[in-house]
Amino acid sequence: MTENYNNPRIVVLNTRAANVHSVEKALRKVGADPVVTSDPAELASADAAVLPGVGASDAVMKALNTLKMVEPVKEFAASGKPLLCVCVGLQVLFESSEEGELAGLGLVEGTVQLIPTGMTDDLGFAMKVPHMGWNEVQFTEDEENRNRLFRGIPQGSHFYFVHSYRCVPDKRAEIAATTNYGVEICAAIAQGNVVGTQFHPEKSGEVGLQIYKNFLDLAATMSSSPNGTK
């Protein structure tokens, strides 16, 4: 294993979710050299990690339970190293979801609720569930106060969403970005080193790649910091 200032060790957790490879490709596109793995030891030695997920929260939790990754992910989150959780990866940070039976990771307090059905928007369009497509994202903080992963992205940029459930954290201060779909949807959570996006940055064009670029830069500072890792 080589230590390389410019090439931090980024791990993409293989939750068997269909977006694992897209996340890997987006990281490669911005210059990272990620490892897709389900090995807890690989996670422990990483500078930064991504927890992808699509489909159902139970499927992701089942994969984490089977792979004995639940505790390692919690430990990683507690280590202060960057952890980016995408879509259902964000939803499983919560204690539980209306969608599933299995307990979540419990790293964020709050609930995951079904998006209300049967609404129509201002133009009279039926608001379908899943919420699928590009929606406008508002960050809750100004550029300079934002979590590092969200810097350099214009307010109101469009990101790609596909989900039927929405996260409702108890602490509003943990909401880093919102979008509107008849109701307010939490588009991103930031809890220091643990960041989650409801949208798919790996499918959101240039603004999405910017998040992975920021993530890589942050991982590089971890890898070069004397107290960072290993």
Binding site: A18, N19, H21, S22, K25, K29, L123, K128, V162, N180
Partner: protein, 268 residues
Amino acid sequence: MLTRRVIPCLDVDHGRVVKGVSFVDIRDAGDPAELAAFYNAEGADELVFLDITASSDARNTMVDVVEKVSSEVFIPLTVGGGIRSVDDMRKMLEAGADKVSVNSAAVANPRLVEDCAKEFGSQCVVLAMDVKRVDDPILGNFEKYGEVPAEALFQIVTHGGRRPTALDAVKWAKLATESGAGELLVTSMDTDGQKSGYDNELLRVISRAVTVPVIASGGAGQLDHFYDALVEGKSDAVLAASLFHFGELRVSEVKSYLAERGIPVREV
């Protein structure tokens, strides 16, 4: 506000885009990755790649195409054509597709949608349905889908429109979404290629019958057709192929036109 999506569709034969973009300075108009990058820059919200390769031995070529495109272009990618099994779908998803569409094989094997949705989640499964208007519906009892209503207006055809079925389009749309299809790609075989507009009545009845997004396909010829498919047809997204490839309209023009008329679109 959630934007309406504009989606170019590319036909791929043996790994090459047929009817490749012919109006701009592109090095290789048959290269899927280069065309994908072009449409991405034009503001395409998603891409659909349809494998029209007839021989099954060339199937792996499509996997390579998907692998390459998804390493270069970071917007949602739907892949269809010749998907017959859960394994076929897995190959495409692992290569980098975000969604996979099934068409004739789902009609032949009604469990396919359900099996794929269970395995990968509904968000990956697009049901592509080719539809024809009928005066005298083919009556009959199609698999477990029951009797065709005598007043059926629209029926499903397969194999590129050559083969009629005793399957009512609205009923099929409902049943497929109940089985787990997460999106419908609805092509009217009556309007396809005619450039006289989408079949908005068809789109509307399908869209009202289901809770999942509907992509309008078949018939776009001018800017207002896109608007009509969204407003009259109640579609969530509009798809076109040759219109974009031959440069008769550009994706960016369609989006500007829609934006000027109050339709929310993602401007790039």
